[in-house]
Amino acid sequence: MSLKLENVSVVYGEGTPFRKIALDNINIEFPKGKITGIIGHTGSGKSTLAQLLNGLNKPTSGNIYLDGTDIWEKPKEISKIRFKVGLAFQYPEYQLFEETVGKDIAFGPKNMGLNDNEIALRVAEAAKLCGIPEDSLNRSPFELSGGQKRRVAIAGVMAMRPEYLVLDEPAAGLDPVGKTDILNGIINYKNETDGTVILISHSMEDVAKYSDMILVLKEGKVFAHGSVEEIFSDIDSLANSSLDLPQITRLFHELKKRGLSERDDVYTVKFGEKLLREKGIFNA
């Protein structure tokens, strides 16, 4: 059970001077029940990949398999795929349109053709996961703060109860509190529904902190893919990808160079602290 891409390429503007390969022969599998972080520069193909996974975009060549079936086998039923693979766009708060928060969250479930009881249930469930208080459900989404709007928009995708949840930069532009709220909501979703999460981000720090697996994209190709430990075990190659390494990783990279630390695969402050304390110097 997984979401799998086989030899997938996406080419824009085929046959024109503006031809651009957005994704180049991607082979990758997103295992069920895991959080995979996708990281890469602007233009590395991250957002194109996100729109492939739920059938908003069609690959130029190659196939995408959802639990073993090709999602483009029956093009007329592609909307069913969109309910199974939920996609929250970048700055999703700009898609809010209903009079109340509750109605907006209900938009997806309504399009699925669910009955009113089921819809109410799902709205309540998604609101809870995203930490939206019940009394907010009757308020206008346009009265909320930026961070709250973002949570409502993401709850709108969660309410479809997708087995796979794809989020494009869910924390972009938020302050630390807003960011934590959103990312905690996503973790809640994964834990409660046993769902699979694909988290697209610019921030290596966030990806390292929240994901089980990391996929590094570079110029439309898979640059590295593996568990967080595997990815961070090869810091030199990661540094070569010209991505911003977490500050703590850079510190240990420097310490290792100076012969002060044996390891440099450090990506959380806690682990770094533990390593240093083990030296027996910093216990005082």
Binding site: L56, Y94, N111, F142
Partner: protein
Amino acid sequence: MLKDITLGQYFPGDSILHRTDARIKILMLIVYLVFVLCAKTAFAFGFVVIATGLLVIISEIPLKTVLKSLKPLLFVLLFTAVINLFFANGEDILWQWKFIKIYREGIENAVKMVIRLTSLVTGTSVLLTYTTSPLDLTDGIERLLVPLKKIGVPVHDFAMMMSIALRFIPTLIEETDKIISAQKARGADFESGNIFARAKALIPILVPLFVSAYRRAFELAEAMECRCYRSGVGKTRMKVIKTRPADYIFLGMSIIACAGIFFLNQVVIPL
């Protein structure tokens, strides 16, 4: 895709048309519109096609771009062609099947309408929007309308609004695309149902678009105020517009071409 719409976009360049005074280009466009709308005979239409082709060539805008700008019009063009083809009455029946009759006049009308529409769009784009930067364009309009200022028409504000509208067309188109995708990801269906269902399906696109346009307008106004915008009071321009002899020659040629149409309209060749 909506992204294909290039209407209102400016393609920086250095062709003769790019260098022509915007005021002259606006006047030329008016003459051109008369020119296209007055064409009646086959000769006249042939002349329209040649003149429009010449404009495209001297604008140095790639033909591909020009054709792409017609793509969104394809439906309108087909619709007009079909209406003219099947519903025009005439004398010469060329083909008949049950109650459907196609007359020679119908084919002629269809071809003429397609040429007329295509030329209008191409001519307007090439003469004005593609080759005139929005600031030059609004500047040109403002200067042409200066006499109206005397009777209290806020000419500058009008020109500024137009320039901003042109600047935001691509931004809003991109935004619309994004909103459509986002609502599709939530299972929105824009393709099925009767006309009322489809109209209703537009609400999830139009509301966010309106909210966003309003927010953009508000923020832009603030940013403009920060850059000392005072509604044209005491405003100068970085590029001083000078009308050169070549500009007048251009205008003269347009007027002659326009007059030529009336002449060609008199020439009827039997088909």
